[in-house]
Subunit: 230 residues, 4 copies
């Protein structure tokens, strides 16, 4: 069942390893089959080295396991909340990639300091509010997803395909699992360059709205000029 | 004698190489057989490339060599002091991994800035007091161990499986040699992210006690939800 | 047509990968055949792993495609402006290499802090003015080239073979595509060391004119003493 | 002639590549045969990938070429000055390794912040005075060596086997070429950790004289306890 999706989810998970975003069993990627309303996600605490597509766990959008013999990633409820709230996305990735995590720990959004950022994120990479003690003590993983969704109330998740969870780490998403992984990788590079920029020039205000528009729409929308498409 | 333990100690030493924590012959890992009261430890100044399990040196808890033809790591007395004081641990690792060492050199404990930290260390990673000139001039290596033990008088070594020795470098431990190495690797990653965090936001106060509790108990104790166990 | 140039342009593009300057399909290198007035450049958005010399796109100096079946790099117009304005150069490279990009984002020129810098750049690595909203909204890629050329009005592009485009990233050039790539690699190393220097000593004023002269002319001009040439 | 020394000098040069200290043809290592008063050094500007022992250039202590068909490293005169002034050394290494170079560019000596430093350098890693315009305009490479020697007037080059040349980069030395390379590698690691330490805690005063003594003499002199020797 869902063999193709499981393969894609495995590939997205391995992309995180290949790009140096994860340590040991940290991190997880998932993907959704929107027609069937089923999600495939990395199992919890299994080494990447030996992971196979058949190890992916399949659940419905309420978290009911419908396939696989392993326990799902402990971050499952966050992934599901994102799939429920953002109907345009097809993949979700969570890592503790180090620079993005540092911005999340510092409680600072990543300003759009340059065109690399603007090519992928149409504005700052936002940071969620801190969860309350009640939210942490309750359904913590679900509440993490809800904090993300709340933060995007006035943001377009397709124009800003990632977020920093305060005191925790980034989530990224995309139209499919591999694009979610790609966004996680770019987010880490953007976070790294933003770290250097902010420490070189604490007053840096970032690029103009005109540049933000130009670079973002270079790669997105009907007038995109990048790549071999169209 | 103790072939199985020697293999485990060798593997833990090689994990330090594999994860980029050691340069040349820096660093050392050991393990203990609690029933026999014997410790196996890396020999001093031997290249990792050619090291075999049979090169591991076996001593009793007083440092009397009972097996092996090489000299033990020059840090042996610190390892032994930790085994004597912390009965729950089965492995000890010492490295000069660069970010953890920088915090030790700066004389600053590593605050729990985020959930990566909280997953492994239930509170700050503490830093010992500086040794006095007398302690340095006396049985220095043993006194290093005593300074660590003193620092843990009101801390649980199983909840905080690592320490920074002021002006020196980290020690980490675990239920067995490989878990000690794992904790040393995670400590370095946590130290690296904490460095970025502290320089991005010097006022950062770290996560709440509620978050600290939640993440720590996610991976520890009867209600752990991470991994395939239970 | 231009098979030799295409091979050289491919090699320069792959040098960027080999030296860790590019992520995914980021970056691009080109070269010019001055006699024929033709430029070969990397295609847009094609993975480096599968790229061949025959994928290189050939255009004249006005951007008219005269060879190749793929779309040219979206930065083509900047490359062409540099070839038109700087008759002594034979190759151009654009990357988002992380430290050089951080200086560009911070809007700071890279001061000549040491001899590594002085061996390649005879003075600061300059940063362009920010483009106006009109320039961004108009022929943006061409205007990026014009901003670079404007910045070099009183600079010698052969003595300073690179530039930081404000809020964007570096361009570098050289007598041929591989030397342009070489300069891009050295620029990144210089930017990295300058970052450490500026954060270690914010008051650092950089090397004297005498040292700048000495190191630059060690490698350039009739009295060069470095290497096996002459 | 001197085949054994040439092999050792080649190995020391390749160690610099293997440990990531050099970019392209940057850096150089040499060694001396004290009995014959002859020095073997890396040729200038030759790629490490294709270098053979027979490419090493042999000169006497006055720089007269007595063997080899290539031009010697352009830093030869600095190496020779060190061999003439420091009779106890058998190898010299020069790199532009990035963190040590940053301290040199910042004009700051590296304080002994911890035991890693103290294991190899018995006190700060000193920085030379800046050369005057006359010294730079004159026999610059020789004058670089003289500035180092002047800086060591009251220092023991065997207790402090390295130096930072202001605005330039480090030199390191040892009893033979490989130990010189080893010291260059350790110096870079020490410089890296010192950078993190200084930015984490600008007030850090470094370790006590007692700790400096203890660690240094752990590895040096008659009472050394490290390694399998003695």
């Amino acid at each position: 069942m869902l063999d193709d999706l499981k393969e894609k989810v495995l590939d997205a998970n391995l992309e995180l390893v290949h790009r140096g975003l994860v340590l040991y069993t940290f991190g997880n990627a998932s993907g959704i089959d929107r027609k069937r309303g089923l999600v495939a996600i990395k199992p919890s605490g299994v080494p990447y080295e030996t992971m196979t597509a058949q190890d992916m766990v399949v659940t419905d959008l309420n978290g009911k396991i419908v396939g696989g013999t392993l326990k799902a990633s402990s971050d499952l409820a966050t992934h599901l909340e994102l799939y429920r709230a953002f109907p345009g996305i097809g993949g979700v990735v969570h890592t503790h990639s180090e620079y993005a995590t540092a911005w999340a720990q510092a409680g600072r959004e990543i300003p759009p300091y340059g065109t690399t950022h603007a090519d992928y994120f149409y504005g700052p990479v936002p940071v969620t509010e801190e969860l309350s003690a009640e939210e942490i003590g309750g359904d913590y993983v679900l509440n993490t997803g809800k904090a993300i969704v709340r933060r995007f109330r006035e943001l377009d998740p397709e124009a800003v395909p990632g977020v920093l969870v305060a005191g925790h780490a980034p989530f990224a998403w995309g139209k499919d699992p591999m694009q979610a992984a790609y966004h996680a990788v770019v987010l880490e590079a953007v976070a790294r360059m933003a770290y250097y920029t902010a420490t070189l020039n604490p007053e840096c205000s970032g690029v103009s709205q005109a540049l933000l528009d130009r670079h973002y729409f270079r790669k997105h929308g009907a007038k995109a000029t990048y790549g071999q498409g169209g």
